[in-house]
């Protein structure tokens, strides 16, 4: 299981980095989204992979790590997902504005001289 997830994270990272290095703004924004999936999964995985152990307690009982998954990385990732959406939106608007101002969707604001 760990191997599958590790490979998955690797593929997401690789695709994300590849797109990050491309010259078009849309590619970069998609790349960042892929990269944030990878990073979120990675942070999530630091708590260990557990099945059927959601950190939801019985009423009135104190939780125990033997029965429940680590809630800390989950809390971290939850806000990261939402903030990730916000930054994607910000970046999208920036790229739209840059495209409007420069007339190109190249990341440098001008087509590369060849």
């Amino acid at each position: 299981m760990e191997l599958i997830l590790a490979l998955g994270i690797g593929v997401l990272t690789g695709s994300g980095v590849w797109l990050l290095l491309r010259p078009r703004t849309f590619q970069v924004i998609i790349g960042l989204s892929l990269l944030s999936y990878a990073v979120n999964l990675f942070i999530f995985s630091t708590g260990g992979l557990r099945t059927g152990a959601a950190p939801v307690l019985e009423k009135g009982m104190a939780g125990d790590l033997a029965l429940h998954a680590d809630p800390v990385p989950q809390a971290l990732v939850l806000t990261a997902i939402v903030i990730g959406f916000a930054t994607t939106a910000l970046f999208l608007v920036l790229l739209l504005a840059a495209r409007g101002l420069t007339g190109t969707d190249h990341v440098d604001g001008k087509e590369q001289e060849r």
Binding site: I9, S15, L34, F44, V56, L90, L92
Partner: protein, 988 residues
Amino acid sequence: MPDALLLIAAVSLPFIGAIIAGLLPTHARNAAAWLAGATTLVGLALVWAAYPTVAAGGVVRHASEWMPTLGLDFSLRMDGFAWLFAGMVSGVGGLVVVYARYYMAAEDPVPRFFAFLLAFMGSMTGMVLSGNLIQLVFFWEMTSLFSFLLIGYWHHTAAARDGARMALTVTATGGLCLFAGVLILGHIVGSYDLDRVLASGDLIRSHPLYLPALVLILLGALTKSAQFPFHFWLPHAMAAPTPVSAYLHSATLVKAGVFLMARLWPVMSGTEEWFWIVGSAGLATLLLGAYIAIFQHDLKGLLAYSTISHLGLITLLLGLNSELAMVAAIFHIINHAAFKASLFMAVGIIDHETGTRDIRRLSGLNRSMPFTARLALVAAAAMAGVPLLNGFLSKEMFFAEALSAQASSALFISVLPFAAMLASAFSVAYSLRFIHGAFFGPDPVGLPHTPHEPPAWMRFPVEILVLACIIIGVLPAAAVGPYLDMAAHSALGATTPEYSLAVWHGFNRPLMMSLTAMAVGFVLYLALQRHLLRGIDGPPVIRGLEGRRMFERTMVFLSWRLARTLEGLFGTRRLQPQLRLVVCVAIVAAALTVYIRVPGPGNLTPSDIDPVLALVWAIGAACALGTAWQAKFHRLAALILLGGTGLVVCVTFVWFSAPDLALTQLLVEVVTTVLLLLGLRWLPKRFDVPGSRASEAITMTRRLRDLAIAVTAGAGMAALAFSVMTRFPPELLAQHFLERAYSEGGGTNVVNVILVDFRGFDTLGEITVLGAVALTVYALLRRFRPAPDSVDIPEQQRDQSAYDIARPDRREGDTVADWLLIPAVLTRLLFPVICVVALFLLLRGHDLPGGGFSAGLTASIAIIIQYMVGGTQWAEARLRISPLRWIGVGLLLATGTGLAAWLFGRPFLTSYFAYADLPIIGEIPTASALIFDIGVFALVVGATVLMLIAIAHQSVRGHRATPRIVGTYPAPAKVPAPVPQQVPAGED
């Protein structure tokens, strides 16, 4: 008056005065002067009020907590030494205020001047009264800042700007060094408290960090006191109005450096290092300053170099490691303040009444302003050290010290008396030049103004100061004896030596030296007559040695050449190389860390591979690769594949016991997709024309390189993730939260309890960021101008409209309205259902998966799909949403919940929970965290909807022929015609 109030008032009063003065109208010269004068007088009275305590050997103190966790107090402390300085600061300050009232022209913005002056006075007072070192450095830096403002007061002249900047650069850099030095000192002693530091002399001197601390602190003190080689800023600070020079360079700013050295003298002096650094800096400055002063043609320049020289004298005395020299230094600090302030003011009068300060143009002013001339004559004589004036006494003490100095270097000892005499002769020469050049000789010709006596009140401060020079000179023991004694005792403690303040000590060697120096100075002045009359700029022999030029070269080198070179070497304006560098550095850093710290995978046995999840991830990987493949030419396809990847991530969260994450991920996936879809419409069409793809070698190389980087990053990340997952995760924190979630947070959903309770402060920060981003998006889009090729109505809509127009039974827009009719009806029916789901998620969030984030996203989806199927105008005609209000209410609720805890005397964001037993409904949880979560919910709704609608609105605007700035949004669009925009299809 209680001590605390007295000290606080003494420090804060000038600042209050400064603020009031700053608020006065621009030309309220008299009001500002009265205000400043009153403030200063009250300050002086406060200092006097402390005299009885201080004179009895007591220390007036006040301390209040500042940063108790760091053991740092805001502490004020006035002993005899600080009292002397505080008295000088407010006393000379008062005289300067009177003088400045008459000196400053009516057209200058005088209130601003007094505001700066008072603020500077407050900083100086704060510095000398500081009871801990950090606070001292703080006020020290404030004196640098306000002196910058004062020197640059006439900022329309380049000289003032340059002078101010130079002074700030030098003294503030020194201040930073001082800060570092003080930190080391605090580390050595274990406290920044001045009392404790002053009691730890032996510890400090024997500590291995003594030398670094000493060098850094001295860098601060020597730059501030304009000691060689940092003296060059002071002459350029003469571009300031003369009252500023009279204040800053006699009693205050430059004395801050010697104040600090004297303050720390008991604990830092007495070593070889101290002797060599302080002593040689002082000696060099003493000689150099006096020598250069002779050859200045500007009267203020002459005084500036003389100031440097006298500060050198004080520094040298401090460097001699002898208690008697220390007493002499304190005495000379007082004397120098008196005669130098009066001389600066006299120069100001000359400048004011004649229009020039150039000795080459001035002469014979003795006849037109006889009274001023006599005052200046006495003050200059005091500066030269003529008997029966105050300068003579401290100079005698200096000579006596020069003769009896003890040091390991025989050369230094044998040179010292001669150097002292030579410097004294120089000072006689420049004092003669000052008096003779300005006041004697033939009547001046061609002056800008006809010289005459100044207003009586402008001369008044000079009279007071000159009177002080004479009284101290004639009756030293009665005039300053008690104060000097008090200052010396408080600075030196039990080791204060016996000294005599008498005018006449008999024919001893110091007196011989004095007389010799006077004779030599007189002869020197006569001998230099021919040279001086030629009017050449700069001193002979060392003309090339100009500190300013070196300073400017250094600045140009640092701020221009070095910066440009580095930018050329490492900088690029292109994004791709930068990102490539970032990725490569990240890879290398991660690899190095792993190599050093964690070799190989962990020892946990991986769990068995489930074929279902393997299949899911096969799809996920394919989607990710497909996204990377298609993002350039087929954006819509890439977007769909991205969504696929997101779903796989979501499934993974479900699989591995993270229902909250899965829920949030799913919802974010929806809004992200909608967001990017909205953006697609504004991107240029890009067709993959067969054969047009660049296949040149250089492009291929570039791609292969990037591919290599991407594969390395991916492989590295996979390896890292695997090795992390096969280790035992750290448990401490998890166990802590799991155990306390219910008992202390009152909820069973631990993730939610962490978010809204344990780490509520983080969440508050995060939602603030979210709100700020949403506002930024909104603000950016208000001025959005689409690229010209994206302005047209999309092809599909054009076709649909053409179809409508071609048929008589249809109106334009009908087809578009019919386009998604059935989904639209369904969506409208679903709207209340989704809202209920959102509410459900919100309310159960504390105990079961859900919460403010997911509820907020759900609600915003409910709204945004109305926009999608109905069009912006349809939706806004029926649904009045003010996302900005939602954001505001959300933030207020969340912050208010936090603040409410204060009402109950608890720390910010402490949560409260209980179960309320309501009739019929039964027991329901009422945690204050729920209100916080409602705040999160409102903010997420507002932010998400604001961003999405702002982008969606561009389609409505985009149809207008001329893209113009739209005034108020989200008011309904005023243009009647535009066709509601469907979700833009990714046609390119």
